[in-house]
């Protein structure tokens, strides 16, 4: 097989949003390949279609033109081998922590004694032991987002789509959670796509950072992250040689694409 290493393949994706007033091109002829176990970040100015792109990969949105293949199969809708994390935890306030973590298994019809026990262990391994019977309102923001991570991992997806999952957290919690997520995903060998507007986060957690252009969205430039930064934990990656230089060139690229402070 020629592209056996690629788990995700976007083939000439275009996305048009049609409203009553007009039809606007959000993404144009975008091609992207992501390898098994790779961690790819998408950064770009607002309006570049990052989140749209993530929704297309997830199968939540059908691209106007083009094709998405995941593990060699044409994506037609959401599937159990992809997990999606949102900007906030969106835990259901009327469910206990354990019931929240189990919802994916319920919906995919995989809830049994064994998967329940595995989810319980996953909660414990994320430092959430003892919270199983509590309600989301009793937990801090960082803990809640960790529950959301467990909820996503409980169905054991091969691919994780992360839509700015750290953006609503305070700085300290965010750094801790970046380390946790990065370690966890590496440990389980997941393929991940992260949408973020935080450049240093993108560099610290990724193997590859893709800068998108806007109007319409397309790939402007790709950055491969050097090994010493890639292998370090996100927190320490920020201290590695070359980090600041990389940040600067990413920043320049982003400013030229219309992002940065002129963010609209």
């Amino acid at each position: 097989m020629p592209d056996s290493g690629n788990v995700i393949r976007l083939d000439n994706i275009s996305q048009v949003y049609v409203s009553e007033r007009e039809a606007s091109l959000v993404i144009e002829d975008l091609n992207l390949e992501i390898k098994q176990g790779e961690f790819v970040s998408l950064v770009g100015p607002s309006g570049c279609g990052k989140t749209t792109l993530l929704s297309i990969i997830a199968g939540l949105l059908k691209p106007t033109r083009g094709k998405v293949e995941v593990e060699g199969k044409h994506v037609q809708g959401p599937s159990a081998n992809m997990g999606y994390m949102l900007q906030q935890d969106y835990l259901f306030p009327w469910r206990t922590i354990l019931d929240n973590a189990l919802i994916g298994l319920e919906l995919t019809g995989n809830l049994d004694a064994q998967s329940r026990e595995r989810t319980r262990e996953l909660l414990v391994s994320m430092g959430l032991g003892g919270t199983e019977e509590q309600y989301p309102s009793e937990l801090s923001g960082g803990m809640r987002q960790r529950v959301a991570l467990v909820r996503t991992l409980a169905t054991d997806p091969a691919i994780l789509l992360l839509d700015e999952p750290f953006s609503a957290l305070d700085y300290q919690t965010k750094l801790q959670l970046e380390d946790l997520v990065s370690d966890t995903l590496k440990q389980y060998g997941k393929t991940s796509v992260l949408v973020t507007h935080d450049l240093s986060e993108a560099i610290a957690v990724s193997d590859r950072v893709i800068v998108l252009d806007r109007n319409p969205g397309r790939i402007r430039r790709e950055f491969d992250i050097p090994e010493q930064i890639r292998l370090a934990q996100p927190f320490h990656a920020r201290e590695q040689a070359g980090f600041n230089e990389l940040f600067q060139s990413l920043w320049d690229e982003l400013v030229q694409s219309g992002g940065g402070e002129k963010d609209t």
Binding site: L60, G83, L86, Q87, F92, L107, S137
Partner: protein, 282 residues
């Protein structure tokens, strides 16, 4: 050691001080509540005394306004003879059926139009018109359709409660954060699962609180319905008393309605608290 003793002393002093402040606050709050209750009670007593006095001294027309001792005597007589219970029973029955059925049908209708955005758009102008018009005006039509009795009265009640319930519940369905729906969608959940796992539980408090609103509206529907057709019930007693110019009967029925309606409302408030506390929420 010399360090510890003054520290401990300080701690004790602080605790005593805090406790004192808390006790003071508590005492103040209790006095405040007692004060409010005392004023409420004396207002009620004063009102009845003044009414009694005005009646006995013929400041007001006793035929029209009666006075409390006469009214309570009337209630006492009806209670002892057992005559009142049938009337109370009929009215309470109609009200309970009216508000439970109104909430149920209204919620089901809301589910239906949530399910089909097309239907929601199609029905929109009809709902607006029906919601705007005074529904009790439909009373005569219900009497023709369902006969002068229980069914026509319940239908009058439903005409008042159903549409407003539908609008309120449908609105709360639509106000559910779309990101919760997205969570279900990312796991491949269908529309029925979106409804069962997110939209319904998120709207449940609203549905329960429409029960409270509907109790009050059901009373309006039932009393008006009884005005129009009934041969029994508290609304019938009021109309009957009016026709034979026995205003003592009218006022005693009103007093009973006030008491029963308040009791029913408190019961629903209690039920609401029970229903909502079983699933703790933020």
């Amino acid at each position: 050691m010399s360090q510890k003793i003054p520290d401990q002393g300080k701690q004790e002093v602080r605790e005593i001080w805090l406790e004192e402040l808390h006790r003071d606050h508590h005492r103040k709050m209790v006095r405040w509540r007692q004060h409010i209750f005392a004023v409420q009670l004396s207002m009620l007593v004063a009102m009845f005394l003044l009414w009694e006095l005005a009646g006995r001294l013929r400041w007001i027309d006793v035929l029209l306004f009666s006075y409390p001792s006469k009214i309570f005597a009337q209630i006492g007589k009806d209670v002892v003879s057992g005559e009142i219970w049938a009337h109370v029973g009929v009215t309470v029955g109609e009200t309970v059926v009216g508000f439970l059925l109104g909430t149920l049908v209204g919620t089901l209708l809301a589910v239906l139009i949530w399910w089909s955005p097309f239907l929601s758009k199609v029905l929109d102008p009809y709902m607006v018109v029906f919601n705007s018009m005074p529904k009790v005006a439909l009373g005569p039509i219900f009497i023709v359709m369902f006969g002068a009795g229980f069914t026509a009265i319940v239908m009058t009640t439903l005409s008042i409660t159903v549409i407003i319930t539908t609008l309120v519940v449908y609105n709360s369905f639509n106000e559910v954060d779309p990101n919760y729906v997205k969570v279900i969608r990312t796991f491949g959940g269908e529309r029925s699962e979106i409804f069962a796992k997110v939209v319904f539980p998120a709207s449940f408090p609203t549905i329960v609180s429409t029960l409270k609103v509907n109790v009050g509206m059901a009373w309006v529907g039932v009393i008006v319905g009884e005005f129009l057709v009934a041969k029994q019930g508290l609304g019938y007693l009021i109309i009957y008393g009016f026709q034979v110019f026995n205003f003592t009967l009218v006022l005693s029925s009103l007093l009973i309605i006030a008491a029963v309606a308040t009791a029913m409302y408190q019961l629903v408030v209690y039920a609401e608290r029970k229903l909502l506390s079983s699933g703790r929420r933020s």
